[in-house]
């Protein structure tokens, strides 16, 4: 893709485009903004309008047992119940916040570090990249099963490894207070590669000039990173944070595969998504679960809004 070949192609084209651009092509070019964006937006809108509308409706009723059964309109009663529920709802919110911010922080920092390590070509880089891809590729549900076995306090590998270092057996997933951090560890193991991939793609789209200019100016590696690379990479970083953040908020597969429904006997890993799932499919309390889902939904949108308005300032 060198400069010369493209210019040649362009000059040949320019002879034909200016005189013979058909009317529809002109219209297409003028309206390209919406022409390009419309299919995606329409697709999404069609598939979410009905579910969201139905969820909102259900949240205002006392539907339970069967969605098609008789249910009565009870206004905001469900919301009041949920928001005043200090036993299940607010702890779930706390866990969601802790889980999400924890894994996000570690994954972005670690992801950035690894992306920088992989940035410049080196021998064997192909194999390293494949290794980086593998945890991402493994089916989350299967990964959860695998870790359940590894972290079993009595027969698992993790405690054996600890034993080699003379450390006592830890309860890992079984402990009331160690379960959540352990699941965070699993999430970090699996999803840091995704951050790495996104950041790496961004890094390679940066042009070399600013880097080289800074090098000539005598900047150290850290200074170059802090003042040249990082600012330029910010849009990509925010993309990674946004995408991973939303997924982290909604984490389900790992939690379900390791602790089952309800997030454990003491609800150790019950985040909002797990709670809503349990309400729907264990308790069949559709009215209440819909209210929880709408609140959850608003929390996610709120966080997204906060992040994207940040994005505007940086870009």
């Amino acid at each position: 893709m060198s400069a010369t070949t493209t210019t040649t192609a362009r000059t040949t084209e320019s002879l034909t485009t200016s005189t013979s651009t058909p009317g529809w092509a002109r219209w297409a070019n003028q309206h390209r903004k919406w022409l390009f964006a419309a299919p995606a937006m329409v697709f999404v809108a069609l598939l979410i309008v009905f579910p969201v509308a139905w969820t909102v409706y259900l949240s205002l009723t006392d539907a339970e047992g069967s969605v098609r059964a008789e249910s009565s309109f009870i206004g905001f009663a469900n919301y009041l119940d949920v928001l005043s529920d200090t036993e299940r709802f607010w702890p779930a919110v706390l866990r969601t916040v802790v889980f999400t911010s924890g894994v996000l922080l570690v994954e972005v920092v670690l992801g950035m570090a690894i992306a920088l390590l992989l940035w410049r070509p080196f021998k064997g880089e192909k194999w390293v990249r494949v290794a980086v891809l593998l945890p991402l590729v493994a089916t989350p549900v299967a990964v959860g099963m695998m870790w359940r076995l590894i972290f079993d306090p009595n027969i698992g590998m993790a405690n054996r490894v600890l034993g080699w270092f003379g450390l006592g057996p830890w309860p890992w997933l079984a402990g009331e207070h160690s379960a959540l951090p352990t699941t965070m560890f699993i999430d970090i193991w699996q999803w840091t590669p995704m951050v790495v991939l996104i950041l790496l793609a961004g890094l390679t789209s940066l042009s070399d000039e600013p880097q080289e200019a800074a090098l000539i100016d005598g900047a150290t590696a850290w200074q170059r990173f802090r003042h040249v690379t990082l600012p330029l990479l910010m849009p990509t970083v925010l993309v990674a944070v946004l995408l991973r953040g939303i997924d982290a908020l909604k984490t389900f597969d790992i939690l379900y595969a390791t602790k089952g429904k309800g997030g454990g006997s003491f609800h150790e890993v019950e985040t909002l998504n797990v709670y809503a799932y349990g309400l729907s499919f264990d308790y069949n309390e559709y009215g209440v679960s819909s209210a929880v889902l709408i609140i959850f939904f608003l929390i996610i949108i709120g966080s997204m809004w906060a992040l994207t308005s940040r994005r505007k300032d940086v870009a």
């Binding site: 070019n29 419309a38 590729v137 695998m146 027969i155 996104i198 793609a201 597969d253 939904f297 809004w305």
Partner: protein, 271 residues
């Protein structure tokens, strides 16, 4: 850029640590798939054990995994291809015209927890007699892939300087032409990355397939759960099935690897 020696050593060590921590658990999974269930439970047999192919025999005999692999491949591929088709232009437009709010609409799809989609979707699609077919699976997977692709490509396009397209316009290209001939070829690494990620998410999607697929269109993650039984938990079989699920996509990753690499090196030498 010349790497100084201490940095080089540090880098090698760091990379080795990273690779080890990423691969060790997976290696464990594969090792477990080659053990009998009794051995799996025995930590003494962690590294020294007699391998057996029985688990794989169980897996391949018990269910038609070739069919499930084909189903997963087809759904993931179709969902990714279609999402790229409508997602990349959308991302371009949203980036160039700063359509932030519209971008949010698309991202909304990613925000909604699957739980709230399951019953309404099933209701609508079963009334349309579409449940169990590939169409509904592909549509539901696209629902997940599209926002991913749009957002990654938006970030990518944001980082692509306008001058390149502008010089194309000066040369007489229409804006759409500039998009086709200049922007797109340059975006290949981004599209490749977004495409790979989308394929992976689609491959591993569990919930939608569980509810919307039929015996013919069942995908691999659902098939894995066949091993978690009421009267027996066949860890060996489960690990073997997990390996079987991961193997095809590992091959895809290996193949796509080249693509990403060429895209990345092209980017490194441009300018």
């Amino acid at each position: 850029m010349r790497a100084r020696t201490p940095f080089k050593t540090f880098r090698v060590v760091a990379l080795i640590l990273v690779v080890l921590s990423l691969l060790a658990p997976l290696a464990w999974m594969v090792a477990a798939s080659l053990k009998t269930n009794v051995d799996i439970y025995n930590p003494d047999k962690a590294l020294l054990f007699t391998p057996t192919w029985d688990n794989y025999a169980t897996v391949l005999k018990q269910a038609n995994y070739v069919q499930f692999i084909a189903n997963s491949l087809w759904v993931a591929f179709a969902a990714t291809a279609l999402s790229i088709l409508i997602g990349v232009p959308a991302a371009y437009s949203m980036s160039r015209f700063s359509m932030r709010r519209s971008a949010l609409v698309v991202l909304m799809a990613r925000v909604i927890p699957a739980v709230s989609l399951l019953v309404p979707w099933y209701y609508v699609f079963s009334n349309l007699h579409m449940v169990g077919g590939f169409t509904v699976l592909i549509l539901s997977h696209m629902f997940v892939s599209l926002p991913l692709i749009v957002y990654i490509m938006m970030g990518y396009f944001d980082g692509l300087p306008l001058e390149l397209e502008e010089s194309g316009l000066v040369d007489g290209l229409t804006p759409i032409g500039a998009f086709r001939r200049i922007t797109l070829p340059l975006s290949t690494p981004g599209i490749a990355t977004a495409g790979i990620l989308s394929f992976i998410f689609s491959w591993n999607n569990f919930m939608f397939a569980l509810v919307l697929s039929s015996a013919d269109t069942k995908t691999l993650p659902v098939a894995i759960f066949d091993f978690v039984g009421y009267a027996s938990i066949d860890w060996g079989g489960l690990m073997a099935a997990s390996t079987v699920v991961t193997l095809p996509i590992m091959l895809v990753a290996l193949f796509a690897q080249k693509y990403v690499v060429s895209g990345l090196t092209a980017g490194a030498t441009k300018g």
